[in-house]
């Protein structure tokens, strides 16, 4: 059996005192794919990355990165990976250029080759102009780009991105996303942790939902969305009285309940009623007919795929990500 996984872990556990950060984490990231690791704060995302990048040793379980065991052969793992941390791990007292040259040398790209590679990455991440300024003076986005550049000096086989766009402005975020897509297209395996479902939706081939130190769900973004079905939403016309509006909402909720078998969610302020629909036979005309037959004054009906946010809330029964 040959392994085609760039990252493969089985039963990873890690405890910090009373806190069980990982409780048997299984991960399998196929070579050349982008895997998005999602989860609420404290789910174990960062600990998972720290174990896989050899920063922390697990209490039990095994993990292979690029085919090397993180505990038995950390040196080989380190030669195969690039890491971009949650906090920009560059030296604020050095310039952007000095940072990249330092890391290039330590990664074995020495002399002229290291200088050339540093300049190339500065150019690519639009940092050439700021290259000789002390990086402490950079904006958050520039720092993150410099950090990503530092992770790419060796053209790593596996790149770890721990919340790469947390707190970034849209322009910097788009730049990081473009870089990740480019890397993936060139065959680099990327493991990305994020709190942003949109980010995972846009970048990831596969998503792993971590909850309480375990992989709770996994699949492509489309599969995960399909797992909870579609979302039916009805918008009602404005009624003359409060009581009439309430009556219409209740009537619409009754119809949706009957059609989907799921508990409808009422929003009185914007006069909408929604429900998760798992039955693939449920169609838009059928919903409209039933509402009409019940005499509900409808102005809009939609049946759409759920957002990853809705998937996340439903699958983990949580009150959402740290937003």
């Amino acid at each position: 059996m040959t392994t085609t996984y760039a990252v493969h872990s089985e039963g990873l556990t890690k405890r910090f005192g009373e806190v069980h950060a990982l409780r048997g984490l299984d991960l399998a990231v196929a070579e050349g794919t982008v895997c998005g690791v999602l989860g609420p704060n404290g789910a174990g995302k960062t600990t998972a990355v720290r174990v896989l990048t050899t920063l922390v040793s697990p209490d039990s379980g095994t993990a292979l990165v690029a085919g090397h065991d993180v505990v038995r052969d950390p040196g080989a793992v380190r030669r195969a990976i690039g890491v971009t941390g949650q906090y920009a791990a560059v030296d604020g007292e050095l310039t952007g250029r000095e940072n990249l040259r330092l890391f290039a040398g330590l990664l074995g790209i020495r002399g002229g080759a290291g200088r050339a590679r540093a300049d190339e990455l500065l150019e690519r991440f639009e940092l050439t102009e700021a290259a000789d300024r002390v990086s402490r003076t950079y904006s958050g986005g520039m720092r993150r780009r410099l950090d990503l550049a530092a992770g790419l000096l060796t053209r790593p086989r596996v790149l770890f991105l721990d919340e790469p766009t947390t707190g970034l402005d849209p322009h910097s975020r788009n730049q990081i996303w473009a870089a990740v897509r480019e890397l993936a297209a060139a065959g680099t395996t990327v493991l990305l942790t994020t709190q942003y479902l949109e980010e995972a939706d846009r970048l990831a081939d596969d998503i792993v939902l971590i909850d309480r130190g375990r992989a709770a769900h996994r699949g492509s973004p489309a599969e995960l969305k399909g797992r909870i079905g579609a979302y039916a939403e009805v918008v009602l016309a404005e009624e003359r009285t409060e009581a009439a509006t309430q009556a219409a909402l209740v009537a619409a909720a009754g119809v949706l309940d009957h059609l989907t078998g799921a508990e409808p969610v009422l929003h009185r302020e914007n006069r909408t009623v929604g429900a998760v629909a798992t039955d693939p036979a449920l169609t838009l005309p059928r919903i409209v007919r039933e509402l009409d037959a019940a005499g509900v004054p409808v102005i809009d009906v939609s049946l759409r795929p759920p957002t990853l946010d809705e998937v996340f809330l439903r699958l983990t029964n949580r009150k959402g990500l740290a937003a």
Partner: protein, 260 residues
């Protein structure tokens, strides 16, 4: 082996470059001992039995030794700073020598210390301290200070990695101010009560202060002093080696394992 040499050299270069971007810091670290030299030398000196010039000549080697001991504080601050900012984690994820980060840091500190001692020596000369021995002995005195600084810096690096928190390191570092006070650096130990004198004379700073005094020809140890002070040059070297043997492996191991 070449990895250790290259990687340590790169980390050393990193620290020297940091200083080049903020050169004032090295000189600023010297304002404290110079202020103390002037303050102790003239204010306390006037109350001591020793004549003022003689006391200041006694004090300069003591301040040099306590500056060397200050390596604990700088090592602690630097290591905790790097540990907290995440740059140490980046180094840990790289295929580099596990000894390079602490070794490069302590070697860079040695260079900045050598430069930083010059202003103190000059002010010392201005207030009446002189090199009264031979040139070789004087070089030996600088050597003693350097090896002790190196050892103290490794102690600090280990402690900094251990606390991994800048604020805590700052608090702990400030507390090291008391170490030279419990030695013969500023005040001769002969007048101290029995147990206090024993504690002060077994303080490594006492051996180094007296070793530097002996090599510069400023003063000789009392015959009834504790062994490291009575044989101050050998005592200083042995203290430094002992600290290095203990703290180099501790610091390297602590760096390699990281936060558990």
């Amino acid at each position: 082996m070449s990895t250790v040499a290259y990687d340590s050299g790169a980390v050393l270069g990193r620290h020297l470059r940091r200083i080049r971007h903020a050169p004032g810091v090295v000189l600023l670290t010297q304002t404290m001992p110079i202020t103390m030299l002037l303050f102790f030398g003239y204010v306390f000196g006037s109350a001591l039995a020793m004549p003022g010039t003689e006391y200041r000549a006694y004090l300069v080697p003591g301040l040099l030794a306590s500056t060397a001991a200050g390596g604990i504080m700088t090592g602690m601050f630097q290591a905790s700073h790097d540990a907290q900012r995440g740059i140490m984690d980046r180094f840990r994820t790289m295929p580099m020598s596990r000894a390079a980060v602490p070794l490069g840091q302590t070697l860079a500190d040695l260079i900045t210390t050598a430069v930083g001692l010059i202003p103190l020596l000059l002010v010392g000369l201005a207030v009446g301290w002189r090199i009264e021995g031979g040139a070789l002995d004087a070089l030996g005195a600088i050597g003693l200070l350097m090896i002790f600084r190196f050892a103290a810096n490794w102690v600090g690096t280990y402690l900094g990695l251990l606390v991994a928190n800048e604020e805590a390191a700052g608090q702990l570092g400030a507390a090291t101010f008391i170490l030279p006070l419990l030695s013969n650096a500023y005040i001769p130990t002969e007048g101290m009560t029995g147990w206090l004198r024993t504690v002060a004379e077994w303080n490594p700073i006492s051996a180094v202060s007296m070793g530097v005094r002996a090599l510069f020809g400023n003063a000789a140890p009392a015959a009834d002093a504790a062994w490291p002070v009575a044989h101050p040059v050998a005592g200083s070297v042995l203290w430094s080696l002992l600290l290095l043997v203990l703290f180099v492996p501790l610091a390297v191991r602590r760096y390699a394992t990281g936060a558990k």
